[in-house]
Symmetry: C2
Amino acid sequence: MAAINQPTLAELVRESRHRLELSQTKFAAKLGVSFQSVNRWENGRTNPLPIALKRIEHLLRQMGDTGKDLLVKYFSE
Amino acid sequence: MAAINQPTLAELVRESRHRLELSQTKFAAKLGVSFQSVNRWENGRTNPLPIALKRIEHLLRQMGDTGKDLLVKYFSE
DNA sequence: CGGTTGATATAGCAGCTGGTATATGCTGGT
DNA sequence: ACCAGCATATACCAGCTGCTATATCAACCG
């Protein structure tokens, strides 16, 4: 946990989603949130709640090497 | 997913937590939410967001037989 | 060309969340 | 008896969420 919080939570979300090759709608479904939440995160309008960050971290872990650098960059600690 | 939503989400939360023998604070930490959220859920003041329900379902699945009946009762579908 | 479909962006609003703070009761220790 | 610690309950408020709805744009297709 403990993702960096500035200035790039938006990047984390968008990049994670792109690496999974999912639309905002499908990524949202995978996380268990609404598509609007993902959209707002990516456009910097709101920040993900901690439980959502935890899910994103979990997805990155499941991706193996594909998600490793993002894990290090945003969840190191 | 698709937990029943009435009249007993509060019971689901409290019962799940009790079976894990955790305080509200520790259960909250396990879920990735604040202790206040768990407290509000158990006292019927608010309902868990979908992503939180998903986490609760996940915990119940990890509990094996201990959580089986709750899964059936609240997450059947 | 016009129509449809999928993906994205944005708004408004009721309801939920986390942080901070206060209060109660209970247990264990001095 | 006093008190520190823990678990619980509740309040307030800024920020986030889901829902419903609208709008734009690109790709496809008849």
